[in-house]
Symmetry: C2
Subunit: 206 residues, 2 copies
Amino acid sequence: MAQSLPKDQSTEQRILHAAKTVFYRKGLGGARMEEIAREAGINKALLHYYFRNKEQLFERIFLEAFEQLLPQMTAILAQDLPLEQKVQQISDFYNEMLLETPLLPVFVLNYVQSDPEALTKRMISVNASKLMSHLTEQLAQETKAGRIRDVAPQQLIINLLALCVFPYAMKPIVTRLFHMSEDDFRGFSESRKQVVPEVIMAYLKP
Amino acid sequence: MAQSLPKDQSTEQRILHAAKTVFYRKGLGGARMEEIAREAGINKALLHYYFRNKEQLFERIFLEAFEQLLPQMTAILAQDLPLEQKVQQISDFYNEMLLETPLLPVFVLNYVQSDPEALTKRMISVNASKLMSHLTEQLAQETKAGRIRDVAPQQLIINLLALCVFPYAMKPIVTRLFHMSEDDFRGFSESRKQVVPEVIMAYLKP
DNA sequence: GTCTATAATTTGATAGAC
DNA sequence: GTCTATCAAATTATAGAC
């Protein structure tokens, strides 16, 4: 615990940061403990001293990543706000977060796809029942008031998530396809903040 | 299971099919040659007899997968058709193809993300210049004619691809989130064929 | 073409000194 | 807490018989 460096990160913190870097890029199967250790500036033995094994270290990284993906959207949707504001908040949140962590979506999706029990064994219940009923009710009200047309809540959620997340999942392809520099992509990301709500609200327009 | 069937697939075909199954699910790093051999009903030695090493086998699978992702859309967009029909064709194509091969998107995206040179070293030029100029012109015409509003071609392409592909990239999460059976998901996929063009055309509406 | 057996590496994990 | 050295298991790849 007693770390000599006052302002520097603790060894555990550096390990977690290194693990994130390597796991995000290579996945569980492709990542090497050796590489994580090197990235953290230590050796394998010390890595195993902090985290008994690879699985345990991965678990830590994966859960934190997953938490940033779905729950954030459900949290915003659960608020008591006009629909349009929710959509804007979600768009802002994802586009800002994923500009900083563009590897996160594919990292999560890849592991979920590779391990059929990735979600079940962690009781990631994705407690959507309450959320869905809340959203369904809000949509019904807005529809009744004639402010939006009648659409399925599931389709809305999927569309919203797709428009927010997918551009980052394909970042390497997007940048190559459109000959974007890192700066270009930042501008693109910024523009998505407006485009996503535009698309969603146009879709909802009566 | 002796494979003495005359019209049955050749050994090479069965290997490729097995490799697809395993690579799609586990990725390059997570896949085991042993598992591919078992899936193909042969042993490792014979696997190496047909494909010298893992990389070479993977290359074959990856390139075929990538070809199904982007080029199909560009091919449809390059046709001489009204915009709305193109969008519908693209929606139909992806939703039908990905219902059968839902693991494909994450497989491709994961490898592209894991290897920074995945695209460059294969001169996957993604020759979009010609496509982009063609699409840009069509959008300009439709805009001038007052049939659609003025939107950036890049945003349109990304939106279209996101709406088509992302639901399958998140299939495990979607099914869990909405408590869908395989049959439910088939219905969901079918409904996407209409939803995607609805969203896109609403976005384009003046 | 297909197999068994085995070589050659890689890699996750541990032992033990400091 | 951190390191060096090393083990044990897993995994890719090859040799050689049939």
